[in-house]
């Protein structure tokens, strides 16, 4: 479904990503691990055309996306939940979810707000609360729920566990897997929390200084014992 070929990304003069290439099948779930500054967020933003200057190719269903804007990529079924949550604080939880559904091309088969909330019970009693009145964990859950509500074919999640309490992290992992299974959504997850990444995905890639240094199954990752020490240890 998604293919990345020889992708380089730049912020101004800074060359952040170097010749990244990989492919994802429909419904596949992949983690991107790496230290701070390894280029995980830049990779997700490059795929969405949401900031960095990109060279190389991003193909969806074999078609090069070229200069397709971020909003048009959303309409094609891609959805980015950025690191800073970015929920709309001036409208309610329900309206946040509705807004995401307005932005998608898909006009049928979208889940009802009640169904989305049922999938993320933390939001159950907060439907009419303004986005700005939610806690950090609730905002993060809403950001994911909003993405799921549009039933994307591919969800790009950027460090959704950052700053969250362990109990919320556990709950979120279960909900993300449940949502992806329910809608056949593929997932590209940028994370530093290895436990969380393992819960959510079946494949893992490692980025170091903007280059892809490992790609394989979790079993392969575990078999290469030095990877964590070399590329993830602080």
């Amino acid at each position: 479904m998604l293919e990345i070929r020889s992708l380089d990304a730049y912020y101004g003069q800074a060359h952040i990503l170097h010749q990244i290439g990989f492919a994802m099948a429909e419904g596949e779930r992949i983690s991107v691990l790496g230290r701070n500054g390894a280029g995980k967020s830049t990779l997700l933003k490059s795929i969405m055309n949401a900031g960095p200057t990109v060279r190389g190719e991003v193909l969806l269903d074999g078609k090069a996306l070229g200069r397709t804007s971020a909003s048009d990529r959303v309409r094609l079924g891609m959805s980015l939940v950025p690191e800073d949550r970015r929920i709309f604080t001036h409208i309610t939880v329900a309206e946040n979810i509705r807004l995401a559904q307005q932005g998608t091309e898909r006009k049928s088969g979208l889940p009802a707000i009640a169904d989305v909330v049922a999938m993320f019970p933390m939001l159950k009693d907060l439907v009419d609360r303004m986005g700005g009145q939610l806690s950090g964990g609730q905002q993060q859950m809403l950001a994911v729920a909003r993405s799921v509500a549009a039933r994307p074919r591919l969800m790009l999640l950027d460090e959704p566990t950052e700053g969250l309490a362990p109990v919320i992290v556990e709950d979120m992992a279960a909900k993300i897997v449940e949502a992806c299974d329910a809608y056949g959504t593929a997932l590209l997850l940028a994370e530093q929390n290895v436990w969380f990444a393992r819960q959510c995905t079946s494949r893992v890639m490692l980025l170091d200084s903007g280059s892809l240094v490992f790609s394989g199954s979790w079993a392969d990752f575990d078999a290469s014992g030095e990877l964590v020490e070399r590329y993830l240890a602080v």
């Binding site: 804007s69 909003s71 959303v74 001036h90």
Partner: protein, 323 residues
Amino acid sequence: MKLAARLSLAVLLVAFLLAPFLVHPGLVFIAGFAMIQIVFALSWNLLFSYAGLVSFGHAAFFGIGAYVSAVALRYGWHINFLLIPPISAVLGAAAAFLVAIVVLRRANGIQFSVLTLALSQLVVVLIGYSEYLGHDEGISAIPRPVINLGIATLDLNNPLASYYFVIVIGLIAIALIWLVVHGPIGRTMQAVRIDPERAAFVGIDVWRLRVVAFTLSGGFAALAGSLLAPWAQIVHPDYVNWLASAQPLFATLLGGAGFFWGPVVGVLGLAWLNYAMRTFVGLSEIMIGASLLVVVLLAPQGILGALRDAVRRRRGKVAGEHR
């Protein structure tokens, strides 16, 4: 909406409806003019408070409506006048759309505002060259129309009919603007105003949405302008220049930016100030300016913002006393 706000709106509506029976004709004229300015200011605020765009040249679109209406009446176009406000709105929206697709491609901040200002001044210059539009003197002695309603006729030469025509069309326009900003488009506009990048991440085409907002706003401004000719019976370039474009801005800042009803309060406040200061010949502009300065300094969020803060303080105090 809170009960007090609903009551205030109801009182205001009744005041507008009963004005011809309660006050002298001079004040009735001001009330009709205020209704036109309210629609104009709300059209500007639709762009400012909801889409986050500042137009310094919105009077150009008001002028399109005003001049379409004026020439239709002055030169006896054979069109039922009931169609003139919607025709003006469509023409204003079309002009705004053309401006938006060109200007918004390249600019959306201060450059956009300055370009809109340049546009309105260009319209003033073009009017000055046009004999058909009365050059700098504009079009005066505009006759009021007799409107064929099918089953009856409405003669706007009757002052009462003319007043209620302006009020009813104005109320319809206010209702339409309210529906726009409280519907899905308004919600999306606000999302774009607050964070365009975040809006793009949920699939909103930011450029397209801004074009829609500017088009709608231009259409409503032209609709407001179309009411001027039959009401004031004179239209001239002063209604199109940069000072006219500043009026909705003043009204919105005075009443409260970020509040739907802020421009309404602002227009009424300005109308009252103008009326109260009318006898101070030569000093009225200075006094109005000073009054506005005081309000803006004391209540930077406008009159409605100050009222909201006062209510919150009072609630906090009452809650503290009961603790």
